[in-house]
């Protein structure tokens, strides 16, 4: 129900007075010079519309003077207001100069009176607002509201596309898993070397590599792998000094022969 609001305590003016010099208290109790002026005006006990700004100014200045004599610290805005009121007072006492640029003393006084009336009015408004029935203080809401339970009802969302994708994805994955790929036939480098060593044994003279390899390319699909592996093997064996390669021009047939019978034989052992 009513919780304690975190408001500052409304400190009573009299309460603030405790233990302090009386006049000091008075100044402290006011919320600024306008508040002080309003209080002084109230003491005139006349309608704010008929207030004498001149008399009010004199009272304010007297008050400030008194405070100074008591060596009270006054906030700057009280002094600013005092200076302005002293000026206003002198203007009000002097004969009005011919109409000039500046607002007349009467206008200034009227403006001040208006400000005072406006502050008075908003104070009244604040008072009547505070006097209204307030929730949790004067009037109460249901002490135990019955909460509305939120029931979440799932609505399933899926499209035919999702369904077909899921089906196809699943079936395809399994189908691929089950397919056994035909074993790819290759002529390995090892096989190539073996074959070439036979060749080297035979080829004391230049021998066309292609012609020699034909016997290994019985199946047509073996041709690329045999050629590739054989070339790699011959290059390797040439580097090792076992055989010599010759090609007369680009894309011409490759000729092979043993580097020398002795080396070839010794290498083989």
């Amino acid at each position: 129900m009513a919780e304690t609001l975190p408001f500052e305590e409304d400190v009573d003016l009299a309460e603030r007075a405790t233990g302090e010099p009386a006049l000091h208290v008075d100044v402290d109790g006011f919320e600024g010079p306008l508040d002080l002026l309003l209080e002084l005006a109230r003491r005139q006990k006349v309608d704010l519309h008929r207030i004498s700004i001149l008399a009010l100014s004199e009272q304010y200045l007297a008050f400030i003077e008194e405070a100074r004599e008591m060596r009270l610290e006054l906030a700057a805005d009280y002094l600013v207001m005092a200076a302005w009121l002293a000026y206003l007072k002198s203007r009000l006492l002097l004969p009005e100069p011919p109409k000039g640029e500046e607002p007349s003393a009467g206008d200034l006084a009227a403006a001040l009176a208006l400000r005072l009336r406006r502050l008075e009015a908003i104070r009244e408004a604040a008072k009547s607002l505070g006097e209204r029935h307030q929730l949790g203080r004067d009037v109460f809401a249901r002490g135990r509201p019955e909460p509305v339970e939120i029931r979440r009802e799932p609505v399933w969302e899926a499209s035919l596309y999702d369904l077909l994708t899921a089906y196809a994805r699943q079936r395809q994955k399994r189908a691929v898993e089950r397919v056994t790929m035909p074993h790819r036939q290759v002529w390995s480098l090892v096989e190539a070397r073996e074959a070439l060593q036979h060749l080297v044994g035979e080829a004391r003279d230049w021998t066309a590599l292609d012609a020699y390899l034909v016997r290994y390319m019985v199946a047509p699909h073996m041709r690329p792998t045999v050629l590739a592996s054989a070339l790699s093997a011959t290059l390797e064996m040439a580097r090792e000094g076992r055989l010599v390669l010759r090609q007369d021009k680009p894309f011409a047939p490759i000729w092979v022969r043993a580097h020398g019978a002795a080396t070839a034989v010794s290498a083989e052992s």
């Binding site: 129900m1 899921a166 994805r169």
Partner: protein, 235 residues
């Protein structure tokens, strides 16, 4: 219960002996309304004007609110206002929550759709992973999948199939509107070069097949628990 406003005229509120009965009712009404907890007779009596007849106040208030949207009800020997029982639906609000089935659920659903009637073991065989009970439960919750019967086979496993709600959700007139193998390939769902893959022509005919028995037992309610492993490789 008469749902019309039950306006009970107060019994002789102006009789001389109890001039404050109406006022006591107002106060009790406000106290009960504002209270966070039910109020007992003593608590009320302490707040009502001197000499108020608490019992009569409560009886009259209860009568005043009988048949209304809010009733004065006894709660553990005390009294409180509560929403009328027949309006309890007001205290709940249904919020529609869009949810998407998991990938595993969609795959299982698709297999049920194409291969029905199908058992859990068969689903797992096609998918190649264990199907969690939760996935099947979810599908049944969606209303798209139903338990059809039991396969005439050892263990008598439950067979699953799709429902008319499935057709209407996916915008199908009939289950055989599901695209076949060639259509799936044509639409790019399946790779064209796949071979040896058969997509069955689905049927959701409610008539049990020759190898199906009816779900004779009562224990079909949740799901057959012994139908397969509970764990799942799937997420």
């Amino acid at each position: 219960m008469d749902k019309r406003m039950n306006v009970v005229p107060l019994r002789a509120p102006e009789t001389a002996e109890e001039p404050d009965h109406a006022e006591a009712m107002r106060i009790a009404e406000a106290l009960l309304f504002a209270a966070a907890e039910p109020l007992g007779r003593e608590e009320l009596a302490g707040r009502l004007p001197e000499g108020a007849d608490v019992e009569r106040v409560l009886v009259d208030l209860r009568e005043l609110y009988a048949g209304r949207g809010v009733n004065l009800v006894p709660v553990a020997g005390k009294w409180a206002f509560r929403t009328a029982g027949d309006l309890s639906f007001l205290l709940a609000r249904d919020v529609v929550e869009p949810r998407r089935p998991s990938r595993a659920a969609m795959e299982t659903l698709a297999i049920i759709a194409y291969h029905q009637p199908v058992t859990r073991a068969e689903i797992e065989e096609i998918r190649g992973v264990a199907t969690s009970k939760g996935t099947l439960d979810t599908l049944i919750e969606t209303g798209w999948v139903r338990l059809r019967g039991r396969r005439k086979a050892p263990g008598r496993p439950v067979t699953y199939g799709t429902t008319p709600a499935f057709l209407s959700h996916f915008g199908l007139d009939a289950i055989d509107d599901l695209p076949g193998l060639e259509e799936l390939k044509g639409a790019g769902f399946l790779e064209g070069r796949l071979q040896g893959l058969a997509v069955p022509t689905p049927s959701d005919d409610t008539t049990l097949r020759d190898d199906e028995d009816p779900l004779d037992d009562e224990a079909f309610a949740p799901l057959d628990p012994g139908d397969g492993p509970e764990d799942a490789q799937e997420s």
